[in-house]
C-alpha cells in the first residue's frame, strides 16, 4: 500500500486488480449460485458507465453472425474461445504484448522515486511500451553524473530495460519546448545505456505538444523553494501558494502552427534517424488536423490525451471545464481519417473503455493513473496482475465480438443512442 490517491478515479477497483489479478474481472466466486447479479449499475467492484462520459456510455454490441470466428475455427480446426485472441500489437514502431502502453508520468512527485522505478520494472517485464515524461531530466536529472538515480531518467530506463523480454516493448522519451534546453533526446541518443534499446529499434522520442489534464498550458509542478532556486533561470517560478515553502513551476506550452509541427517532426526524423518518432497532442478542437499533420510529416505514432487524462497536477478549472473528452476526439479523428497509429489515453483502466477506444480507431490505449496506482498497490507485481486482468477482459470482449485481434475491431462494435455512427 502507498499513500498515493486518485480522487474521482476508480482507485479502489484498480487497487483490487493489482492485488488479485484476473479474478478481479469477475464477481466474487463465493457469490456464484447465491447472488443474482446484474441489477446494479455497475455491480460492486466492476467497471461500469460514468453517466457523463460518452465513451463509458457506449455499449459494446456483439453480433449474432460471426464470419471472423468461422475463419478462426477453420484455422484452428476447433471452436475458438477467448484465449485464442492474439493481443500482440504494433505500437508506434514497437511490438507490445497488449494493445496497451504506459503513459508518461513525468517529474511529478507522485511518479518519482521508488514508484517510478517499480512502474518501469513491471512495464518492462510485461513487454509494454513506456513513455518517460518530458521534464524528468530538467527536474530530476539524467542520472549519469551522480544525481539520485531512482528519480533520474537513466534509472527508469535501466529498470525498464533490465526486465524487458526480447522483441517486445520500447521506451518513448518525451521532450517539450522548455526542455529543449536540456537536450533530452540528444542526451539519450548518444548514451551507452540507451544503446541496446536504440540498436534493437526500441527507442522512440515523443514530441509533447500538450496533455489532457491542462490543454493549452505547459507542464506544472509544485516545488519546494530550495529546488525552485536551483531551477530558477530555466522555468517560470510563481509563488501562487502564499507561503514561502512551496512555489508553482510553470512551463510554457510552446507555440505551434501546422508548419511548426510539420517541421519539428521532420527535424526529429532527420536528427534521430534510428529512433521512432511519436507526437502527443492535447484534446484540442483541431486535434484531427494536428494528428494529420504529424502523421504526414512522418510520426510513427500520434498520441491523443483526452480531457479525462493526465496524472499531471493542474489548476482545478482545467480538468473540470477545458478540452474535448476522449470520445469526441475519437469521433473527430475518425471523421477526418485517423492517423495510421493512433494512441489514446484518458481514464483507461479496464477492458471495456479500451475496447471501445480501439473500435473507434485507436491502435492502443495508455495507462496513466491506473498504472501508477497498480504499481503503488504492490511494487513487485501490482501492475503485472492488473495487466493480466485487463488482458483477460480484452480477450473476453474481443472474442465476444467474433474477432480475434484488436485490429479487427471497428465502429460497428459499439453503440449508443447519443453517439451516432
Amino acid at each position: 500500500m502507498s499513500d498515493l490517491s486518485a480522487p474521482g478515479f476508480p482507485e479502489e477497483e484498480v487497487r483490487h486488480r493489482a492485488r488479485v489479478g484476473t479474478a478481479a474481472a469477475f464477481p466474487p466466486p463465493g457469490s456464484y449460485g447465491q447472488v443474482l447479479l446484474g441489477a446494479e449499475r455497475p455491480p460492486a467492484g466492476q467497471p461500469g458507465p460514468d453517466a457523463g462520459d460518452a465513451l463509458d456510455a457506449l455499449r459494446i454490441v456483439p453480433p449474432v453472425f460471426v464470419p471472423q470466428r468461422l475463419a478462426r475455427l477453420i484455422d484452428l480446426g476447433r471452436e475458438p474461445d477467448y484465449r485464442d485472441v492474439e493481443l500482440t500489437t504494433g505500437i508506434g514502431g514497437f511490438t507490445s504484448a497488449l494493445p496497451v502502453y504506459v503513459s508518461a508520468t513525468g517529474s511529478t512527485r507522485a511518479a518519482g522515486g521508488d514508484l517510478g522505478l517499480a512502474l518501469s520494472r513491471q512495464a518492462g517485464a510485461l513487454g509494454l511500451p513506456m513513455v518517460i515524461g518530458e521534464n524528468v531530466v530538467p527536474v530530476n536529472g539524467y542520472g549519469r553524473l551522480g544525481e539520485a538515480a531512482d528519480r533520474a531518467l537513466l534509472g527508469r530506463l535501466r529498470a525498464y530495460a533490465e526486465e524487458l523480454p526480447d522483441g517486445l516493448g520500447g521506451v518513448a522519451v518525451q521532450q517539450s519546448t522548455e526542455d529543449a534546453d536540456a537536450e533530452v533526446w540528444n542526451l539519450v541518443y548518444s548514451d551507452p545505456a540507451a544503446l541496446p534499446l536504440l540498436e534493437s529499434g526500441r527507442l522512440a522520442f515523443e514530441l509533447k505538444v500538450g496533455q489532457g489534464a491542462k490543454p493549452g498550458l505547459g507542464g506544472m509542478t509544485v516545488l519546494d523553494a530550495a529546488d525552485a532556486a536551483r531551477l530558477g533561470d530555466r522555468y517560470g517560478i510563481d509563488p501562487v501558494f502564499g507561503d514561502d515553502s512551496r512555489v508553482l513551476r510553470a512551463s510554457t506550452p510552446g507555440t505551434f502552427t501546422a508548419e511548426i509541427l510539420r517541421q519539428q517532426v521532420r527535424l526529429m526524423r532527420n536528427n534521430f534517424p534510428r529512433a521512432r518518432i511519436w507526437v502527443k497532442l492535447h484534446p484540442g478542437r483541431d486535434v484531427a488536423e494536428a494528428a494529420r499533420v504529424a502523421a504526414e510529416a512522418g510520426a510513427d505514432a500520434v498520441t491523443v490525451d483526452g480531457a479525462e487524462g493526465g496524472t499531471g497536477w493542474a489548476p482545478g478549472v482545467f480538468p473540470a471545464q477545458v478540452g474535448l473528452p476522449l470520445a469526441e476526439c475519437l469521433r473527430r479523428l475518425a471523421a477526418a481519417g485517423p492517423p495510421p497509429c493512433l494512441l489514446v489515453s484518458g481514464r483507461m483502466w479496464e477492458g471495456g473503455r479500451a475496447v471501445k477506444s480501439l473500435a473507434l480507431g485507436a491502435r492502443a490505449v495508455g495507462l496513466g493513473r491506473a498504472a501508477l496506482l497498480a504499481a503503488a498497490e504492490d511494487p513487485e507485481d501490482g501492475l503485472i496482475r492488473f495487466a493480466d486482468c485487463l488482458a483477460l477482459e480484452l480477450r473476453l470482449l474481443i472474442s465476444a465480438l467474433g474477432k480475434y485481434t484488436p485490429a479487427a475491431l471497428e465502429r460497428a462494435d459499439v453503440w449508443s443512442p447519443d453517439f451516432p455512427e
Partner: protein, 336 residues
C-alpha cells in the same frame, strides 16, 4: 584508401596510443598538409579583405543545428553555458564589426555512438568559418570553390614529398584544381540515390551512406544545394520563391570522402528567426542575446564552415578523419 563502408558495431572503434600516433609518418604528413591548407586559406582570405577573428569557446547558447549530437554543458558561475558546436551565431554577430570575417573555430559535439565507426566524425574538430555581409548563397558557393581550389593547389605544389609518403596520387585533384565543381539540387541528389536503390528520405539531409554513395560516383567535389526545411538549423534562409526549400548548400568531396563544408544564406529577420526557431524545436528564450541583437539589426549575410579535419582527410587521402587530428576524440572513446 577506403570509403565509408557500413557502420561497424559500436565499440569497434579504437585509437592508437598518443605517442605512436604523433610519431607516425602518416600523422606527420597529414598534419603538414593541414598546416599548409590553413596557411593558404589565411593567405587567400586576407587577400580578399577578410579579417580573422578569434571565436569564443563557451557561451550561453550555441548552434543547435547539428544532427543528433549532444551539446556539452559548462557550469559558468552557476549559469548553464555551452561549449561551441559551431560559431554560427557569433559569425553573424561579428558582421557588426567587419563585413568579411573568418575564424578557425574549435567545435565540440557529442555525436551519437554509431558515428565512432563512420571514419568521418570527430567529437572535437575545427571549422574554417567564413561569413560575408550582403552576400547571397551563390556568392559564397563561388567563394568556397575558389578557396578550396586555391588551398588544395597550394598543398599540392608545396608538399610533393608528403603526398608521396602518404601514397596519395595528386592527379585525383586534376578536376578540382580547374576550379569548377559540380552542382546538384537536393531533390536531384535524392532522385539519384533512390534510382540507385538507396532509401533516401526527400525531407531529410542526405544520410551518411547516401552522401558517400554520391561522392564515390564523382571525380571532383560537388555542391548539393536547396535542402528542405526540417533538415537544417533555423539560420538557413528559406527561399521565398520556393517555400520549404532553403538557400543553403553542402560541399561534398569526390571519391567517397563525403561532406566537407556546409553553408547558407542566413536568416536575419527577427520574426522569421523566431518562427524558424520554433520549427526547429528550439526555445527562443535561451537565445536572448542573439535575438536582441537581431532585433536591432544584423547585416544580411551568407557564409560557410569547412571541416578542417575532413578536408585534410580528403586531400591527404586518409582512411579516417581521426588521422587528421593530433589529439583525436571519437564518440564514446576515451582519449587524451
Amino acid at each position: 584508401m577506403t570509403t565509408d563502408g557500413p557502420t561497424p558495431a559500436t565499440g569497434a572503434a579504437t585509437l592508437p596510443e598518443p605517442g605512436r600516433h604523433l610519431t607516425s609518418p602518416t600523422t606527420r604528413a597529414a598534419l603538414r598538409i593541414q598546416h599548409q591548407l590553413l596557411f593558404a586559406a589565411r593567405e587567400f582570405l586576407r587577400g580578399r579583405g577578410f579579417t580573422e577573428l578569434l571565436p569564443p569557446i563557451i557561451g550561453p547558447v550555441t548552434d543547435p543545428g547539428s544532427r543528433g549530437s549532444k551539446q556539452v554543458d559548462i557550469d559558468f558561475y552557476g549559469h548553464r553555458y555551452k561549449l561551441m558546436t559551431s560559431a554560427i551565431l557569433y559569425k553573424q554577430a561579428s558582421l557588426l564589426a567587419f563585413d568579411k570575417i573568418f575564424c578557425i573555430a574549435p567545435n565540440v559535439r557529442l555525436e551519437p555512438l554509431e558515428t565512432a565507426g563512420t571514419n568521418r566524425h570527430l567529437a572535437e574538430f575545427h571549422q574554417l568559418d567564413v561569413e560575408v555581409a550582403g552576400a547571397t548563397r551563390d556568392d559564397v558557393v563561388q567563394l568556397v570553390e575558389e578557396l578550396v581550389a586555391h588551398i588544395v593547389g597550394s598543398a599540392v605544389r608545396e608538399l610533393l614529398k608528403e603526398f608521396a609518403e602518404l601514397g596519395r596520387d595528386t592527379d585525383a585533384f586534376a578536376e578540382l584544381l580547374k576550379g569548377s565543381f559540380g552542382r546538384m539540387r537536393h531533390a536531384e541528389a535524392v532522385a539519384e540515390l533512390q534510382g540507385l536503390g538507396h532509401p533516401q528520405s526527400p525531407d531529410a539531409e542526405l544520410d551518411w551512406a547516401g552522401e558517400a554513395l554520391l561522392s564515390a560516383r564523382r571525380d571532383r567535389p560537388f555542391f548539393v544545394t536547396d535542402y528542405p526545411k526540417g533538415s537544417r538549423g533555423f539560420y538557413d534562409r528559406e527561399n521565398p520563391e520556393d517555400p520549404g526549400l532553403l538557400r543553403n548548400f553542402d560541399l561534398i568531396a569526390a571519391e567517397g570522402f563525403g561532406e566537407l563544408c556546409s553553408g547558407s544564406q542566413r536568416t536575419n529577420d527577427y520574426a522569421e528567426i523566431i518562427t524558424r526557431m520554433r520549427e526547429t524545436g528550439e526555445n527562443p528564450q535561451k537565445y536572448r542575446w542573439y535575438l536582441d541583437l537581431v532585433r536591432e539589426g544584423v547585416p544580411a549575410s551568407a557564409g560557410f564552415g569547412i571541416g578542417v579535419e575532413r578536408l585534410t582527410r580528403y586531400v591527404a587521402g586518409l582512411d579516417a578523419v581521426w588521422q587528421a587530428s593530433a589529439f583525436p576524440k571519437l564518440a564514446g572513446v576515451v582519449s587524451p
